[in-house]
């Protein structure tokens, strides 16, 4: 059974830069994929993992070329093949499940046609048999009513459904090797868990070998037998999943695992300094040298080889790996606790707020006429104390960002009042809001590429609040800008840089600096770390925490990532379809008994540990609108009681840990039901 499906020998792929230099994206990759094995390839953006996956199909992107090496599949080198030969392998022997199925399905062709195309190309089935097979495949990936599904166009499906179609298409040719390129990235937490479960089932059912490429160690842990860790175009670690995730012997993997926030260990994760080098910048020595805690002089000039360690069945690219073999983690050491100075002093009071997303056009804005009986966000009551970090958690469509926009004044509330500093009512129109309140509430956005003006230098970006609120000019302004930048660990050097010249983490630091330059009382953080790589995310989270301790700022932190929320927040509010489900101190919300939706969410979280499996409690149906009456979660609730949930808005109950749960089921009953599971 140990026969190889694909063997990669010394593969180097690169491009020629504008200056004529040859720059490698993949360096000397050698590995073997065995029959029936699932290999996880993990790395951050730019590590070359997707290029490697494509090369395994004999495909090299436009602009890149193979410098040396080969990908051997059944004793043929895929990279030296003619297109005609490759057409008989792709989709038939080796199939790909792409990263973004929404963009990878041809928009003008029906789902059925696209699957049929694969069947026609790679099987000898007749028309009727193919039709049957299409239904069979769609059934296998658990799509409802396959006959109707086949008649749909890709854009008519939800993200999760599109991903399932891509899986069905890949299975059409009965491949020996299945390549998955970030197949669950961009999906909601619960959908992601369901798709992964499906993939696991298929791996067992069909016995195909799989290569699972992802940046998410949580997903990798769930599916892989073996893990390959990539950094800067090289394999740095390659071994069995348990030893890699539980006792990593490469300093990068070690640091990476440490920087992932986990549900099981509260508090902020450790961060790694710096970021992955750009291709072509490291000429000598180990590419991880700059960020490595164990580095010594030798690492600067000599690059380590990938060394196979027999007794661990692991290959590692590091001179100092032995230091890590016997390293035993002492948990309490590594956990920084969030020591928030919460003053019992209410700074924001959101009461009975509802928001309608009915489009506000120019004239409608003038008359402020919104008539909507079933608003996107309804009945939100939250008090926030000074110095507190409150997190709003939910999947896409939960209304968490909408609430944030209303607090900032960007979106008018339909009903309800938001009070600042105990008794000052915030106007729901930006134009009539007191400038002092505008300064007091600042926003940080998800994607710094969008939130920083690409035509402004860092200096101009940070100067804006300083000029607007404090009227600073000349040298005084410049001094202040430098001061603020130093607070976010960026030196004077950055003043003249444009956002495009910065790395993702640096850009987000500039955005943080801009927010803090206004000396705000409250900062609204909208998914501020989800566009960042894991190792960078931890650094930004730590920075936010430190700044908060220095300035006593209050954060309202919106995120879909429960582990991140667990790490940074004092209190958590769980939202579904624009309605609150549960709210309370974070350590209590993360403990059962919980609102059934919180339970579903918590169950779907993927831990970077192969022994902790997600619990799939509810179906991952996508609901487009909140229900007209009754409980917002009635459509998906696994513990639904009956008509009462459909007709009556559930009451608030105080849970035994002090968290409030909005559910018709008594807390004691919830406790019983959830403990049984």
């Amino acid at each position: 059974m140990d026969s190889a499906v694909q063997t990669i020998n010394n593969l180097t792929i690169g491009f020629t830069s504008q200056k004529g230099e040859r720059i490698s994206i993949l360096k000397n990759i050698s590995t073997t994929i065995k029959k029936g094995e699932t290999v996880g390839i993990v790395g951050e953006s730019g590590s070359g993992k997707s290029t490697l996956a494509l090369a395994m199909m004999g495909y090299v992107k436009h602009g890149l070329y193979t410098i040396s090496g080969e990908c051997i599949f059944h004793s043929n080198n895929l990279l030296g093949m003619q297109n005609k030969e490759l057409e008989n392998i792709r989709g038939r022997k080796i199939a790909m499940i792409p990263q973004n199925a929404g963009q990878s399905l041809t928009p003008n062709l029906k789902i059925g046609y696209q699957i049929d195309e694969a069947l026609r190309l790679h099987t000898d089935l007749k028309k009727e048999d193919r039709d049957k097979k299409i239904s069979e495949l769609l059934n296998k990936v658990r799509l409802p009513s396959p006959e109707i599904m086949a008649q749909r166009y890709p854009h008519e499906l939800s993200g999760g459904q599109q991903q399932r179609v891509a899986v069905a298409m890949a299975l059409a040719g009965n491949p020996e090797l299945l390549l998955l390129d970030e197949p669950t990235t961009g999906l909601d937490v619960t959908t992601q868990a369901h798709v992964l479960e499906l993939l696991n089932f298929i791996a067992k059912d069909t016995g195909t070998s799989m290569v699972y490429v992802s940046h998410d160690l949580g997903a990798i842990a769930q599916v892989s037998d073996r893990v390959i860790v990539m950094y800067s175009g090289e394999i740095v670690l390659d071994g069995p999943v348990r030893s890699i995730l539980k006792n990593p012997i490469h300093p990068y993997t070690f640091g990476l695992l440490k920087s992932i926030p986990k549900l099981t260990s509260p508090g902020l994760p450790d961060s790694m300094s710096g970021s992955q080098p750009q291709p072509g910048t490291v000429k000598l020595g180990c590419s991880f040298y700059e960020r490595c805690n164990l580095a010594e002089d030798k690492c600067k000039t000599n690059s380590p080889d990938l060394e196979f360690i027999e007794n661990l069945n692991t290959s590692v690219r590091c001179f100092k790996y032995e230091d890590l073999i016997d390293f035993k983690e002492t948990k309490s050491d590594n956990v920084k606790s969030t020591n928030n100075n919460i003053l019992d002093n209410e700074i924001l009071d959101i009461s009975k707020v509802s928001i309608s997303y009915a489009k506000q056009k120019f004239l409608e804005q003038l008359f402020n006429k919104i008539d909507d009986t079933n608003p996107t966000v309804q009945d939100i009551n939250i008090n926030i104390n000074k110095g507190e970090t409150l997190a709003l958690v939910g999947e896409s469509g939960s209304g968490k960002s909408t609430i944030l926009k209303s607090i900032a004044g960007l979106l008018k509330t339909k009903d309800g009042i938001i009070k600042f500093d105990k008794d000052k009512v915030l106007s729901n129109d930006l134009k009539t809001r007191d400038p002092g309140f505008l300064r007091a509430i600042q926003l940080i956005f998800q994607n710094p590429d969008e939130s920083l003006n690409p035509n402004h230098t860092v200096e101009e970006i940070v100067s804006q609040p300083l000029r607007l609120y404090f009227g600073l000019k000349g040298d005084e302004l410049k001094q202040k800008i430098i001061e603020v930048l130093e607070k976010v660990r960026l030196g004077e050097f950055y003043l003249t840089r444009y956002p495009r010249q910065l790395s993702g983490g640096e850009k987000q630091r500039v955005a943080v600096a801009r927010a803090f330059a206004a000396k705000p009382d409250i900062i609204l953080c909208d998914e501020v770390t989800s566009a960042l790589d894991v190792s960078v995310q931890a650094a930004v989270l730590n920075l936010l925490q430190e700044l908060k301790e220095d300035f006593g700022t209050t954060y309202i932190f919106v995120s879909h990532d429960l582990a991140v929320v667990r790490a940074i927040s004092d209190r958590v509010a769980v939202l579904y379809q624009g309605r609150l489900c549960e709210i309370g101190p974070s350590k209590n919300v993360y403990q059962l008994p919980s609102h059934p939706y919180t339970e579903v969410l918590l169950g779907a979280v993927l831990e970077p540990d192969p022994d902790v499996k997600p619990k799939l409690v509810a179906e991952d149906i996508v609901e487009e609108k909140p229900p007209e009456q009754g409980c917002s979660f009635q459509g998906r609730c696994p513990r639904i009681l009956g008509d009462i949930c459909k007709n009556v808005v559930p009451p608030w109950q105080i849970g035994e840990n002090g968290n409030s749960i909005r559910c018709h089921i008594k807390v004691e009953d919830l406790k019983k039901q959830q403990n049984v599971n």
């Binding site: 930006l430 600042q442 956005f445 939130s451 035509n455 804006q464 609040p465 000349g474 410049k478």
Partner: protein, 294 residues
């Protein structure tokens, strides 16, 4: 140095860099050189023309090119070389200022429409559509024939008719920008509308509008020469390529040189401007080939 001065320096640096990128590709270099050559020629040519451009001499009618008359003479015995090197001056001036006008009013209206949206935007765009649907040549001919062919009529009229397309581009660019988070962020901070337009929107739509203006320039030159060719542009005896081609056309079976010289002059200038506009668009990272010439 204060921020303002630095910004000025930055802008200069940016312009210099853009020109450098433009010249780094052969097509851009060729375009820039042709354009530069024509501009210098237009400014300096009156200083060294060999003959008087309006001196009529029937005895010299339709002479073939010779060492004395490099490009021969036309049907009125005028030196074709003299008239050719002078023939681009009016065209260049009129279309350059015309494009500037087009750029300013088209850009301003486009940004305004993109910002306000709603009913006002709908109405303005409908009117722009209506203007677009009248062939430019018909409207231009009508205006010129009723108001005369002076540059004071031609520049604003061309500027108006070629600015319509810029409105659309500027509006679309503004639409793209206002959805971005950095605008939302500026709004949330409480900046005034004017400051948001000036600091946040303008720098981001500027490139698209300028590229559009550069393209308009070459199309306007085409339009202007067509007017001249039809006899509605420059009045004789002022030398102008379009007019020269039109006059010499009837006799081209005997005197092809009198047609070829202005054709060469006009074609090279249009190609020069076009290559420059292309290189300019590429240097700023804008793909102009997907756009219709309206």
């Amino acid at each position: 140095m204060t921020l303002e001065k630095e910004q000025k320096k930055n802008n200069l640096q940016k312009i210099f860099e853009v020109i450098k990128t433009m010249a780094s590709k052969p097509s851009g270099l060729i375009g820039l050189s042709i354009l530069l050559f024509h501009v210098i020629l237009a400014i300096t040519s009156p200083l060294y023309v060999p003959y008087d451009y309006k001196a009529i001499d029937p005895s010299l009618m339709l002479q073939a090119p010779s060492s004395e008359y490099w490009f021969g003479t036309d049907s009125l015995g005028r030196d074709v070389f003299t008239r050719t090197i002078l023939g681009g001056r009016t065209a260049l001036t009129v279309t350059f200022f015309g494009s500037l006008i087009a750029l300013v009013w088209g850009g301003a209206l486009g940004i305004f429409c993109g910002l306000v949206g709603g009913k006002i935007d709908d109405v303005v765009m409908r009117i722009i559509d209506a203007f677009l649907s009248i062939p430019w040549i018909l409207a231009m001919l009508l205006i010129v024939s009723l108001l005369g062919t002076t540059t004071l009529v031609l520049i604003p009229a061309l500027g108006f008719f070629y600015g319509k397309g810029i409105v659309r581009v500027a509006r679309a660019a503004t639409h793209d920008v206002i959805a971005k988070d950095f605008i939302v962020s500026a709004k949330a901070r409480g900046h005034s509308n004017l400051s948001i337009i000036w600091n946040e929107i303008l720098p981001n739509v500027r490139d698209a509008i300028m590229v559009e203006g550069a393209m308009r320039w070459s199309w306007m030159l085409l339009g202007f020469s067509s007017l001249s060719f039809l006899g509605f542009g420059v009045s004789p005896p002022t030398p102008d390529w379009g007019l020269m081609i039109s006059n010499a056309r009837g006799l081209m079976s005997f005197a092809y040189w009198a047609v070829l010289a202005p054709i060469f002059g006009l074609s090279s200038l249009i190609i020069g401007i076009n290559l420059t506009a292309d290189a300019f668009a590429k240097a700023l990272g804008i793909d102009r080939s997907t756009k219709a010439p309206v």
